[in-house]
């Protein structure tokens, strides 16, 4: 049960943005892409989502190549949150979130109100519901988009449904620290519901605290891949970010603390 990219390269006008990358996201796993700007994290995520077609290699969902799955079918098992969304006409927040309900073929529409209610409460966007999307701040827009993504993957019985994957490109970029924590906790509970998560993130402390697996990228390649404690080492990070990085095990918090 996995979403997998095997030996993927992507180049545009002769420049390689991603070289020979292998990433596997299994059901229930929280995987993060970290690395300096321009390392190829977002491109790797776009290749994983099917938005970009790889120049070489193949992305597969449960062993089936992404290219041979229709967009409609794909939308039932994977949801993608882009960095930011620009909506031209005035849509209400409620309308935007409801667009996530693509599972009409699988799930009775009578369950939509309950599902909406649940994601709206979980993401704390109750009070934004009747506002227009364009009147929200960047952070509020991200929370609304996140709620839409959760609705897309919502199922009445998460034990017995097809595998689901959630891909997010810097979903916490505009969030304040409380909402950042909320979002990562929600991702953790999503993983407990068997959803495989792939997230591009910059905050290494949160990466160390929440991720099951870290993919460290630099200059279009994967430098290291594995559990946070193995990958996020002072030597490796200092080399990749070209600046002195200190990694300590904080006894009181019982977690890694990374700072410069």
């Amino acid at each position: 049960m996995s979403l997998e990219m095997r030996n993927i390269s992507y180049q545009i006008r002769g420049k390689k943005l991603v070289s020979e990358v292998n990433i596997t996201v299994s059901s229930g796993e929280l995987v993060g892409l970290v690395g300096p700007n321009g390392a190829g994290k977002s491109t790797a995520l776009k290749l994983m989502s099917g938005e970009l077609k790889p120049s070489f290699g193949d992305v597969s969902l449960e062993g089936t190549s992404l290219g041979s799955i229709s967009p409609a079918e794909l939308s039932l098992s994977r949801s993608v949150m882009a960095q930011s969304t620009n909506v031209v006409f005035d849509f209400s927040v409620e309308e935007i979130i409801k667009m996530g309900w693509v599972q009409g073929r699988l799930v009775s529409p009578e369950l939509l109100p309950g599902a909406m209610n649940q994601v709206i409460n979980e993401c704390g966007v109750n009070l934004l519901l009747n506002r227009t999307f364009n009147s929200l701040s960047g952070g509020e827009q991200q929370r609304v988009q996140f709620a839409r993504n959760l609705l897309q993957l919502w199922r009445p019985d998460s034990k017995r449904c097809m595998p689901r994957y959630l891909l997010l490109d810097e979903p916490t970029a505009s969030l304040d620290l409380a909402h950042e924590l909320l979002l990562l906790n929600l991702l953790k509970s999503a993983a407990q519901l068997n959803i495989g998560v792939l997230i591009v993130m910059h905050d290494l402390n949160l990466a160390a605290r929440f991720l099951d697996k870290v993919v460290l990228m630099s200059q279009s390649r994967i430098v290291d891949i594995g559990p946070p404690a193995m990958v996020l080492t002072a030597n490796q990070l200092s080399e990749v970010y070209r600046t002195k990085v200190i990694v300590e095990q904080n006894k009181k918090l019982d977690r890694l603390v990374i700072h410069t």
Binding site: E73, L76, V80, D90, F91, E95, I96, M99, V102, L112
Partner: protein
């Protein structure tokens, strides 16, 4: 934080502003009746039913007035619907059916027929259809050309379509200019009036096939509600939500061209309806395509019937081109929209 019960959405289809739709429908029926009754020959509609109408009134009603109001309604609805679809597809509030080359393509076809038609020996029974057929051929030709160029140059990106559209319109303008230059005085007068649009040529024989095309195209376009709503989040997001984006774009452009081309072929070029009515619909009903598609069709039909009524009654027995009326109403309204948008 508990959710207040009244806010809980009850269904995927939101509570449509039903009252407004009923109002718009009633308004459309009222305007259609006014359009049928008024004009150079006044026809009190109850008289037709009670048999008190004169023979002249009956003939005018059946053979002139009815096809005209009928055609005006469907052309207005198609232009407005195509405008809404293209604005949604391009995610641009300034998109208009003229942008994808339909109108200029139709104009090239129709004007070529006006200027060169006499030198072709066309059988008499085909005569009423030659202009519409030439216009439709032109509309489809230019749209296909635009489509294949845009596809070839820029993988069908929206910016490429806009730029290729500008080039296509310029090429069409050159051909039209050339035809104008070689035309004689009578032809020149005919083509100038064609370019200004009119429902004066409406007859059942040509209106019915055109309306059939418009209805089929409109049904297809109204079926695109979800795809259009998803596209508002961006093309990538629409794909993530299950839309086959290249296919949806191609089909929507071609069906919009069919809807507009079928109308323009009979009536000539009518400006501003496709641009302004979608804004009016959004203003009255909201932005979701669940309401704007049907809403703009209703408003477009109503406005076009009214514009035609004004065009043929403002200086009886003369008739002014309907495009003068739509432009006179549309342009100030458009300015008001710009002012309103920049106030925010």
């Amino acid at each position: 934080m508990r959710l207040d019960a009244s806010r809980v959405p009850t269904n995927f289809v939101p509570n449509l502003p039903a009252a407004r739709f009923i109002f718009l429908t009633v308004l459309l029926i009222f305007c259609a009746l006014a359009g049928l009754g008024s004009g150079g020959v006044l026809i009190p509609l109850p008289d037709l039913l009670t048999g008190k109408a004169t023979y002249l009134q009956e003939i005018v009603f059946l053979e002139i007035r009815s096809p005209r109001v009928f055609l005006a309604g469907f052309v207005g609805a198609s232009l407005a619907l195509a405008g809404t679809v293209l604005q949604g597809l391009f995610r641009n509030p300034l998109a208009d059916p003229g942008l994808i080359g339909v109108s200029s393509g139709a104009a090239v076809g129709a004007i070529a027929m006006i200027v060169l038609g006499a030198s072709l020996s066309i059988p008499a029974w085909l005569q009423p259809y030659t202009m519409p057929l030439a216009a439709i051929t032109g509309a489809i030709g230019v749209t296909l050309l635009l489509y294949s160029f845009a596809n070839y140059f820029g993988r069908f990106s929206i910016v490429t379509i806009l730029l290729v559209g500008i080039a296509m319109n310029a090429i069409a303008a050159v051909i039209i200019g050339l035809l104008q230059y070689i035309s004689d005085d009578a032809q020149l007068r005919t083509l100038v009036f064609w370019l200004m649009g009119s429902f004066g040529r409406a007859q059942w024989a040509t209106s019915l096939p055109a309306v059939f095309v418009m209805v089929v195209a409109s049904i297809y376009l109204i079926g695109q509600i979800r795809n259009l709503d998803y596209l508002q989040l961006g093309e990538a997001e629409a794909y993530f939500l299950g839309v086959d984006v290249p296919r949806a774009k191609r089909n929507m452009i071609l069906w919009s061209a069919a809807a507009v081309g079928a109308g323009v072929a009979l009536t000539g070029i009518i400006g501003f309806v496709g641009l302004v009515v979608p804004h009016l619909a959004r203003l009255l009903l909201g932005s979701s395509h669940q309401v704007t598609l049907v809403g703009s069709a209703l408003i477009g039909a109503t406005l076009m019937i009214l514009a035609d009524l004004v065009a043929r009654t403002v200086m009886i027995p003369e008739e002014i081109p309907v495009s003068l009326v739509t432009n006179a109403i549309g342009a100030p309204f458009f300015l008001w929209l710009i002012a309103r948008a920049s106030r925010v």
